[in-house]
């Protein structure tokens, strides 16, 4: 009986730690200056927070091991993918970066590609005119 | 103690509903209505009705959002 009790207490403290990480993620969501930094804070903190909470529940109720493990794997796989898709959508719809951003290599690469495409188009038009 | 959880969920739900009505952009209104059904499903779960919560989750949060965005896409393509 006493061993079971210890399991429950350890699981409860792990779950509280997970929910503290969730709160940190939301505070980061409010405080960060632009959309990309918000994605950073929100995704990482919510991933680890959910994983820790579900691990605490595994400690409390060991019979539910299967479903909780499946849920943990699912969160671990899908959360980075959704953050990547959101960031790409935000970048290509030109959500502004914050003022203190230092470098933007992707913009330079895109500009180089655009100029090359424009050059190719010009060459093709000239050939067709000839 | 269930009442405290229910009150906070109700605050979130009402804020989402007001936003869904009063916002100018349609896409933001659709996301807000998805938020309303998210909290409504947790409310059903608190009232000990897991089957209703399951249906609300799958229909309200998943299918309605997808179909609304599909319709919005069709509308935008036709009128541009």
């Amino acid at each position: 009986m006493s061993e079971n009790n210890w399991n429950e207490i350890i699981g409860g403290f792990i779950a509280i730690g997970g929910s503290l990480f969730l709160v940190l993620g939301s505070i980061g969501l409010v405080r960060m200056p632009d959309a990309y930094n918000r994605i950073q804070a929100g995704t990482k903190a919510s991933t680890l927070g959910t994983i820790l909470s579900l691990t605490g529940i595994i400690f409390i109720v060991p019979d539910w091991f299967g479903k909780l493990l499946l849920l943990i794997l699912f969160v671990l796989i899908t959360n980075p993918v959704s953050s990547h898709v959101l960031a790409r959508a935000a970048y290509y719809t030109k959500v502004p970066l914050t003022g203190i951003t230092k470098v933007d290599k992707l913009k330079e690469t895109l500009e180089v590609e655009e100029s090359r495409k424009a050059h190719l188009k010009k060459v093709r038009i000239q050939k067709e005119e000839e | 103690m269930f009442i405290a959880i229910a009150i906070i969920l109700a605050i979130v739900s009402i804020a989402g509903a007001i936003m869904a009505i009063h916002h100018k952009k349609l896409s933001v209104a659709i996301i807000a209505s998805g938020l309303v059904s998210l909290t409504a499903s947790v409310m059903f779960l608190l009232l000990a009705a897991p089957d209703v919560a399951l249906t609300e989750a799958s229909i309200g949060s998943g299918l309605t959002t997808i179909i609304f965005f599909y319709a919005l896409n069709k509308i935008r393509n036709n009128h541009d």
Binding site: M32, D34, Q40, A41, A45, G66, K67, S83, T101 | -
Partner: protein
């Protein structure tokens, strides 16, 4: 693919009765046959003892990096002056297979202060909260290398 579906079914049901196992086996035989013709996800996976050892090491490294990332993010969020220094840098990868690149991008997203923004041919564009160097070689060495040496053995 069959093994993955069967494992998911057994975890979901949490029981080992014969009816459950028979139903799961039939469904997880039919589903890959219907829906994925080639199933090229698992063809690059090598099954050798070294690869298994390296995948265990990879998971261990990944979990420690995840926890470190979260404490780093907690420090940045809670300190009142908000010490961030963001920027987008470019990084090269040596991995060839698609699934290896996907796993690399996912694990970069969960490491301290970085996440993948876009992926073109063999260069990744990464948003970094605290930019330490804008050079290509040096940032590659800082971000990618600690995962790449494991993934290279696992997938090639």
């Amino acid at each position: 693919m069959f093994i993955t579906l069967m494992l998911a079914w057994l975890l979901l049901n949490n029981s080992l009765q014969t009816e459950v196992i028979i139903t799961g086996a039939i469904i997880s035989l039919i589903l890959p046959w219907l829906f994925c013709g080639k199933c090229e996800v698992f063809t690059y996976l090598r099954i050798t003892p070294k690869a298994l050892l390296y995948s265990v090491l990879f998971i261990f490294t990944f979990l420690t990096e995840l926890i470190k990332a979260n404490f780093d993010m907690a420090y940045r969020v809670l300190s009142p002056s908000l010490p961030i220094n963001p920027g987008i840098v470019e990084v090269k990868t040596k991995l060839k297979s698609k699934i290896g690149r996907v796993i690399l991008a996912d694990s970069i997203t969960l490491t301290p202060g970085t996440f993948t923004l876009d992926l073109k041919d063999d260069s990744m564009f990464i948003h970094w909260v605290d930019v330490k160097s804008t050079d290509l070689e040096k940032s590659t060495q800082l971000i990618v290398n600690k995962f790449e040496k494991y993934l290279e053995v696992m997938y090639g």
